[in-house]
């Protein structure tokens, strides 16, 4: 109990910014903060190249590009649009262009942005930039990422300004936000756990910022509530499932190898990724080293399981419900069965099984509705450059038909889930959740 109090007090102090000195990690070797100028030219250059290569790997593991590159745009030149509850953010250019990018920054500036959420001029950054997670990154890793970004070809690209709604456009408000929600501090290893577990925790909690999607956010955009408990993605009708609930995306009962496979390829015998997670796989996680993938898997598997959550009430199989499900079954036969199989068994490596698929029976059906309406492709990765895809049915099926077929899928082959309504489908079409 005392420990909890102490931790809370400590967190509070950190949150209030009283601990201004960055907590240094024991894993940071001495001398990292000074540039390798004292060494002779060749080894200095080698060291620099090594640092840049490490930075390239880390930037990829953290998927910096995912936000800092517009679809089809120049890498790291920003311009990607993030819709949030407080307005629209246009991600900045982080190539070393002096005018439009971060060419004038030094590694100290960069560290402060990651660790303390401050811009080069010292003004506080909006937490749409996930410094609440990046604060856990070590100085050594921060410097490596910076070295890599500085080695990129500068792209002169001025992006549109953010459009933040009043009163959130008043930057001083961020100080209040920070005082309440921001805990500064590099990841601290839990000595009771293995190195592998700690490495995984560092990647998941810090650089990987999994939290940013998999933990619910409050109206002020702060991750709140149960860690990795699942949440709606801001500005989109995707739900990032809980990583701690066995009814959702907890992997506590998986073999570590299956988790590793999912992280590195986007699918395993246990699950398949779609939507934003598929992007994370193809842009980022597929490049993880085996060791890092195992470390993340070890940590994810260890996340404490949470109690069963409300699933909504699956319909009693009255005659009326039975008729609805039968109608849904007919639509399934016409449009879905070819790929997903007559028993929802799917086809490994191509089409996901729907029977026993936790993604289908989530309390909130929004992901499944979205997939049916918009279709999409499995993640493109080096070992699967041409994945199979799902057609969009928005143009083919009416709202009522989507509701019927999804209600059927949620209640066929041993699946149990609430019935889906045409109104829910309509909301998804309109872009609302």
């Amino acid at each position: 109990m005392k420990l909890i109090l102490l931790a809370a007090a400590l967190a509070g102090l950190i949150g209030l910014g009283i601990f201004m000195v960055p907590v240094s990690s024991s894993s940071v070797p001495a001398g990292v903060e000074s540039p390798p100028a004292k060494t002779d030219g060749i080894t200095g250059r080698q060291a620099q190249q090594q640092q840049q290569a490490r930075g390239a790997y880390l930037a990829q593991a953290g998927n910096c590009m995912g936000c800092h590159t517009a679809q089809g745009g120049r890498p790291y030149a920003g311009g990607h649009v993030l819709d949030t509850s407080i307005g629209t953010f246009i991600t900045p250019n982080i190539t070393p262009d002096p005018e439009t990018g971060i060419g004038l920054w030094n590694e100290g500036n960069f560290w402060r942005a990651l660790h303390d959420g401050k811009a080069r001029d010292g003004s506080p950054l909006y937490p749409a930039f996930p410094y609440t997670e990046y604060t856990k990154i070590t100085r050594e890793d921060s410097d490596a990422i910076f070295a890599y970004l500085q080695s990129l070809p500068p792209a002169q690209q001025r992006n549109r300004p953010n459009q933040i709604r009043f009163p959130f456009n008043l930057r001083p408000l961020i100080y209040i936000w920070r005082a309440i929600y921001f805990e500064q501090g590099v990841y601290r290893a839990d000595n009771a756990k293995s190195d592998e577990w700690n490495r995984g925790a560092y990647l998941v909690q810090g650089l990987g910022h999994c939290n940013a999607c998999h933990t619910a956010r409050n109206p002020f955009g702060a991750s709140q509530g149960e860690l990795f408990g699942g949440g709606q993605l801001m500005g989109s009708n995707w739900y990032a499932p809980s990583l701690t609930s066995l009814q959702e995306a907890s992997t506590s009962d998986w073999a570590v190898e299956d988790i590793v496979e999912l992280l590195r390829t986007g699918s395993s015998s246990r699950a398949i990724t779609t939507g934003p997670m598929a992007d994370v796989i193809s842009q980022s996680l597929q490049y993880l080293t085996k060791e890092d993938a195992y470390a993340m898997a070890t940590y994810l598997k260890s996340l404490p399981e949470t109690g069963p959550r409300s699933r909504g009430i699956a319909p009693a199989l009255t005659e009326e419900v039975d008729t609805l499900l039968r109608q849904g079954g007919e639509i399934y036969e016409t449009h879905c069965q070819d790929c997903h199989g007559n028993l929802g068994q799917g086809a490994p490596g191509a089409y996901p099984a729907l029977a026993g698929n936790r993604g289908i029976t989530l309390a909130s059906p929004i992901n499944a509705i979205r997939s049916i309406l918009n279709g999409g492709y499995a993640p493109v990765i080096a070992s699967n450059p041409r994945p199979y895809g799902m057609p969009p049915f928005a143009q083919i099926l009416r709202d009522e038909e989507v509701a019927l077929v999804l209600s059927y899928i949620r209640n066929a082959w041993g699946n149990r889930g609430t019935l889906v309504t045409a109104a829910q489908v309509d909301r998804s079409r309109k872009g609302a959740q």
Binding site: Q71, G72, R74, C339, G376, Y377, G389
Partner: protein, 243 residues
């Protein structure tokens, strides 16, 4: 202990599901991979559902690749295509373009022509002669004498639904297609056309039958005069990356 037993049971049922049913047989082909496309851009029998979807079979590869990229990157605005292609790399889009370009598919029967004789004459004149006074080139200058397209970037105009062609004219007039890319030749041309003219052209094009010889020809023949090519950013946008 109870939990251990439960988990074991769950795993067992999982296993039973996985092995008890034979998985669907999935061909390792591009045709299977583009099922997401052919649900709408299918063979004739499927087009009946909605007259809007354009034919993409046999169009020039460069044209298809450019359109796929434009949809994905939202230069050409059509939300369903943007959502479907989100995150797909250029290389896969190029593979898809090559696949559809290689398809030799029978053309749908022409739509009935309901235009008045005056409208037919108007369409024929604009399509074959243009209107030099208003800087409108003949359609045939770029899209080929037989209107079957020009390698590598210009699409054929036959076999398309009338409503689709009208919608594209509307897009160009409103800047909805190739937004932000200049010069945009079709936008300039479409803005010169009156609603009646665009409508007459669309009706005429959709009503043209395509002979079997034309529909099975290896590839569109003509090349584009350089002077005209310079007018179109959709053409100078070379495959291989935006610069």
């Amino acid at each position: 202990m109870i939990r251990v037993v439960l988990i074991a049971f769950l795993l067992f049922t999982d296993h039973a599901i996985a092995t008890g049913v034979s998985p669907a047989d999935v061909p390792d082909t591009m045709a299977e991979r583009v099922k997401a496309c052919t649900a709408c851009h299918g063979k004739e029998d499927k087009q009946g559902r909605d007259a809007y979807y354009p034919r993409i079979a046999g169009k020039p590869e460069g044209y298809l690749f450019n359109q796929l990229r434009n949809f994905r990157d939202e230069r050409r605005h059509y939300r369903p295509m943007a959502l479907l292609l989100e995150g797909l790399p250029d290389q896969y889009l190029r593979d898809m373009a090559a696949y559809f370009a290689s398809l030799k598919q029978a053309f749908p029967p022409p739509e009935p022509l309901k235009s008045s004789p005056d409208e037919v004459e108007l369409a024929r004149r604009l399509i074959t002669q243009g209107d030099p006074g208003r800087k409108i080139p003949a359609c045939t200058e770029c899209h080929g004498k037989d209107l079957m397209g020009t390698e590598p970037f210009i699409p054929g105009l036959l076999g398309l639904p009338r409503v689709y062609i009208i919608a594209q004219f509307g897009n160009w007039q409103n800047g909805g297609a190739m937004r932000g890319e200049t010069p945009d030749c079709m936008s300039e041309i479409a803005k010169q056309l009156t609603t009646n003219e665009a409508s007459a052209i669309a009706a005429w094009l959709a009503a043209q039958p395509v002979s079997e010889a034309l529909s099975t020809r290896a590839s569109p023949a003509a090349t584009l005069p350089g002077k005209l090519a310079e007018r179109c950013s959709s053409i100078v946008l070379q495959p291989g990356g935006l610069q």
